[in-house]
């Protein structure tokens, strides 16, 4: 197999090298490259623009001369964020919900995903459908909200975690993956007297790590970006707002932002208060950075990730 690949590779290379590029092809390539280059820039530039503005000195930013390159690089804005009210607690809530929520979801998906592969389970088909069918309907925003308040989950941190424990999509992904693992592995373990939990812990969990990493990454991004639950459920508990929700509040606040800064006498805070758009930019950067940091890891799982949209029960 490996030899075959080695043999065919050079052949293809020489073929492409030998190909004569016609004028029409050249034009096509030029247009094609140009289009993708422009679109790529529109995707990247806004983040770059935010970055250079937040690391430039605020005077240049005020003059509006920081457009393509940073001027007077410093981290004043990021340091000044410590003076922004409620930002610390919002970041903490976001980090906590991302870590706890993802961990619980992944553990539950792995366990339930394994359970539903067990054909001898009592009424397995029924319960599996019971789970999967919930992907295709929902009662609507208001009934959901009324339900959450009936359960006492409004204005409570648990509202970020508990509803996300059972994630049908992810359970299907894990189930499909586990079914591709040779049955003999667990069967022999069972014959050797291993219990259900031992098999799960020692065989299923380690072998399904690739798919668990996939759902972990996508789940974490979902938690980090999630905004609706904070907006709707936490109306009376501002200390439980997520970072996204805080950012939304700051972005849409049309009145001056001076009142969100405590200790306005410190020089960094004063500079920031003088230019409120920098507060908005810097908080935006803070919210983007974690996504950009996990992004390289995510790319490895894109292929599995598309399955998220395409798998069937």
């Amino acid at each position: 197999m490996a030899d075959q690949v080695k043999q065919t590779k050079p052949r293809i290379k020489t073929e492409t090298r030998r190909k004569i590029i016609s004028g029409g092809d050249l034009a096509f390539y030029a247009v094609d490259h140009l289009f993708f280059l422009v679109f790529t820039i529109t995707c990247l530039f806004p983040f770059y623009y935010l970055l250079i503005n937040t690391i430039s000195d605020s005077e240049s930013v005020s003059k509006g001369i920081v457009n393509f390159f940073p001027r007077g690089i410093n981290l004043q804005n990021y340091i000044a964020l410590k003076n922004v009210n409620a930002l610390g607690s919002a970041a903490l809530v976001s980090v906590l919900r991302t870590i706890i929520g993802t961990a619980v979801m992944v553990a539950a998906s792995a366990f339930v995903g394994y359970l539903v592969t067990k054909e001898e389970m009592w009424h397995r088909k029924f319960f599996y459908r019971f789970l999967v069918i919930t992907m295709y309907f929902n009662a609507g925003l208001i009934p959901w909200y009324m339900n959450m308040s009936m359960l006492g989950l409004t204005n409570h941190f648990a509202a970020y975690i508990i509803p996300g424990i059972v994630a049908p999509y992810n359970i299907i992904l894990v189930k499909t993956y586990i079914e591709s693992i040779p049955k003999e592995l667990e069967e022999s373990a069972f014959i050797d007297g291993a219990s259900f939990f031992t098999v799960f812990r020692k065989i299923i969990w380690p072998l399904s790590k690739p798919i668990l990493a996939t759902i972990a990454i996508f789940g974490a991004v979902g938690h980090w970006n999630s905004f609706q639950d904070s907006l709707i459920l936490m109306s009376d508990a501002p200390n439980l707002y997520t970072l996204q929700h805080r950012l939304y509040i700051y972005l849409t606040q049309t009145s001056d932002l001076k009142n969100i800064i405590n200790d306005p006498n410190s020089p960094s805070a004063a500079a920031m208060a003088a230019n409120p758009k920098l507060i908005k930019y810097t908080i935006s950067m803070i919210s983007v950075i974690p996504i950009l940091l996990v992004y390289p890891f995510m790319q490895r799982y894109f292929e599995e990730g598309i399955m998220l949209g395409a798998v069937k029960g």
Partner: protein, 496 residues
Amino acid sequence: MTEKKKTIPEEPCHPVYSLQRILALLMFFLLFIPTANPARVCDLVNKNLSLLTSAISWTGLTSDVGRGFRAGWVSESSFRLIMAGSIVMLLGICVIAVGACMSFGNNKLKRSSFLFSLAGPFITVAGEALLVLSSSRIVEFARANGKLDRVYSGTLNGFLVGKSFVPYPSGRMILFAAIGALLLILTIITLIGTPAPEKGEKAQMESRYSLFLMFLPFALLTFIFCYLPLWGWRYSFFDYQSGQTLSKESFVGFKWFKFLFENEATRNDIFRVMKNTLAMSFLGIITSWVPLAFAVFLNEIPSKRFKRFVQTATTIPNFISWILVYAVAFAIFSTDGFINSVFGGNTNYLMSSSHMWLKMLLWGTWKGVGWSAIIYIAGIAGIDRQLYEAATVDGAGRFQRIWHVTIPGLVPTYMVMLLMAVAGMLSNGLDQYLVFSNHANATDMEVLDLYVYNLGIKGGSIPLSTVISMTKSLVSIALLFMANSISKLVRKESII
């Protein structure tokens, strides 16, 4: 020798056991229903509080009593007693549940389950006794302070005998006690019917049942968060204002359904909102070929590196939230954003109300096209190379190859995506339209999801927005089934 005694077989699905489990399950669900909350011993306990919440959340339990505590006509200790009673009841119900689960086992395990099934109802009733006690203490305390009317607005749940108050259990308590009594009777029947386990028999359970019991907590979670909200549809038939309870008096039948069409202002709103919703969805459907084209033309680029780079960069926007998309929009298009500082000017483009549909479509495309293209890129990778070679040999040019080989290979995937888009026609999502809307452009931006949010959560008209939520859900399900049957008809394959 046990032939005669064996009146109930070991089979765990015997009707007596099933009945027992159904009752246990019923009791478990009553934990979540505020209307059935026995801990509501007086008017001071929040009407929307379930027994579970009263047992685990002190702030929830005392949310309506703050003034009473401060003014001193409610003693905190009596509320502690309510919480204690709730906790004991919760414990009792848990014990009952454990007993019901254990009854799936063999005779030996069933024997031990009786211990739980017998103790559970007693613990539950003991909790109720604490609640009754707390109610009497609250009344006596309030009466001593002359604020009895604050504690009970209607009739008292008991008799006043001199200075002391003799309460009687409420209907809600009787319900729990009745279920408990029934469980007790059933347990005694099974206790007599179950033969003594053979000597040396170990307590165990068939794996089919133990697997089921491990699955059960997750099934319950699914029920609570995905099926129980359907119970909230009942609000559409009541005159409800937040904080109140539903009662026979507030039942209004189809009033709100009629209101939707009879009230002119609402009707105009609905027409406008539906126009926005359908316009956004149709624009989305009309441009649904864009990711496909994106994938096809990206595939024509020979350099693997460049391809990879483009793919990496264009997928980033998909992974940031709509808030961050708005933050980006803010940085570029606001008054002192990029556009204005480069080209000079003072326009806040985000506040303009022109071409809102088109702008929203463009933002949606910017965010989603790179990601949506991935599925087609994977599709292209799956097309047989020999087809391309054959086409080249036959003299097909680049565009002919694309048209006759690549596109036909991607059409099945495209059809699935298209049908899913049709099925989700009413769900544009809330986030995008919420963050981009402001007083200048709100009229053209309000899609159905945003309208429901504005009406129900912001405006507080729960019944009317429930009517809309409910209709939307039903229509969406109908659309999904329609799309699915079309798919079955055309592709002989279902999409769900």
